[in-house]
Amino acid sequence: MATATATTSSAVPATAFLRRQGANGGANRSLRWARNQHQRWSPRRSGAAVITAKFDLKPPPYPQDALEPHMSQNTMSFHWGKHHRAYVDNLNKQIVGTELQGKSLEDVMIRTYNKGDLLPPFNNAAQVWNHDFFWDSMKPGGGGKPSGELLKAIERDFGSFEKFSEEFRSAAATQFGSGWAWLVFNPRPSDGKELLVLKTPNAVNPLVLGYTALLTIDVWEHAYYLDYQNRRPDYISIFMEKLVSWDAVSAKLEVAKSRVA
């Protein structure tokens, strides 16, 4: 996500390759995801030699069954293959021919957030971004505790990892209706605390609120209903114990700090 600034060149961004080598170790496993495994941007020419840019559905950095049994392949096939895909497709349809076309995803998001007076494409744009971020927040064999600078920062701002974990779980469990819970980095803290836990409704995310996202959990019902039904607290516990990618969170914290240093 830190390298997600748009480019309209036809070169494949380096991150696409790093993802496949690092996480999968081979091209075959990434083929289990559906047909379109393009890089983020795919400029293409129409018959009238007009270049149109559109957003693509990016696959998660692990195969569809890699998070079993904590998040089933069944859930992933719907959550990524249907919900996330629909946000991408509908966003593209909504912005074609408008001034938003050709802008980066983050740019579209912030413009359509419109300081809280949401414009129609916001829901789709933000949900594309949120889901990309969510897949990156998890990994096979995840969970456990963070280490190094991240752990120090958590202990400094929350008192202990356990207190952070309790606050994060509580935010995720008490977000009424659809939404997300986040660990974020605050670039301009008034109280000296760089890290905070936030919960947001529907498609709203910390980016449009001025923070840098480090970790998220999707608490829309479609994220957990097939595997956990109404038991959202169980889903949240399993997410913390078995799915969180603390490596990804640490990397994002490093980038966030280097920006303000």
């Binding site: 209706g177 529907n202 498609a203 019902e221 479609h222 109404n230």
Partner: protein, 234 residues
């Protein structure tokens, strides 16, 4: 004692007569608490439009949780009021709105549905049928409009056929999360509410919300809606 009476009366008045039957007086405390209403049909009776699995989870887990948490919030509210803790009272409002709204909305929802063999899906005769044609064009137009609004709703919420009792006109509205219809207008009376939270359809219809909306009309209980309409319109 006077404080408790105020709580009870206000609670009952705000929620309408339909819920009085479910209220129990906790004799030792005087606080009116609520309980899960029974369904007037078996969990499997609405199949294939809505699966038994969904009906059971929806009633026994989701609605029950709203009732439990609503009662908890009301007890905390009574406590905060007795202590004169203004901040605590204000902080409890969102939990009361969410859980109380959830209880109100779902109590209406179970009455909005009925098995086909008991008249589910049969269009309304009488004054409500006429009002639909007059105010909304036709039954087809009503269904199309509610389905479109239900499908377009982002996140969680409800789509309603309501009666504006001041103007005696039918309206179609949506509300977010568990906001009752009255949050869109104090003069609005709910006739039919369709739950479009994902828990209402996901196990059966997955992401295809439009199919759920198309099918639910087969089990909509127009008899109940007509009764409510006629009572308001004499």
């Amino acid at each position: 004692m006077a404080l408790r009476t105020i709580v009870s009366r206000k609670t009952l008045a705000a929620l309408g007569s339909g819920l009085r039957a479910e209220a129990r007086l906790a004799a030792s405390r005087g606080l009116v608490t609520f309980s899960l209403p029974d369904l007037p049909y078996d969990y499997g009776a609405l199949e294939p439009a809505i699966s038994a699995e969904i009906m059971q989870l929806h009633h026994q887990k989701h609605h029950q949780t709203y009732v439990t948490n609503y009662n908890k919030a009301l007890e905390q509210l009574e406590d905060a009021m007795a202590k004169g803790d203004a901040l605590a009272v204000v902080k409890l409002q969102s939990a009361i709105k969410f859980n109380g709204g959830g209880h109100i909305n779902h109590s209406i929802f179970w009455k909005n549905l009925s098995p086909i063999r008991e008249g589910g899906g049969e269009p309304p005769k009488g004054s409500l049928g006429w009002a639909i044609d007059t105010d909304l064009g036709s039954m087809e137009a009503l269904v199309q409009r509610m389905n479109a609004e239900g499908a377009a709703l982002q996140g969680s919420g409800w789509v309603w056929l309501g009666l504006d009792k001041d103007f005696k006109k039918l309206v179609v509205e949506t509300t977010a999360n568990q906001d009752p219809l009255v949050t869109k207008g104090a003069n609005l009376v709910p006739l039919i509410g369709i739950d479009v939270w994902e828990h209402a359809y996901y196990l059966q219809y997955k992401n295809v919300k439009p199919d759920y909306l198309k099918n639910i009309w087969k089990v909509i209980n127009w008899k109940y809606a007509s009764e409510v309409y006629e009572k308001e319109c004499h």
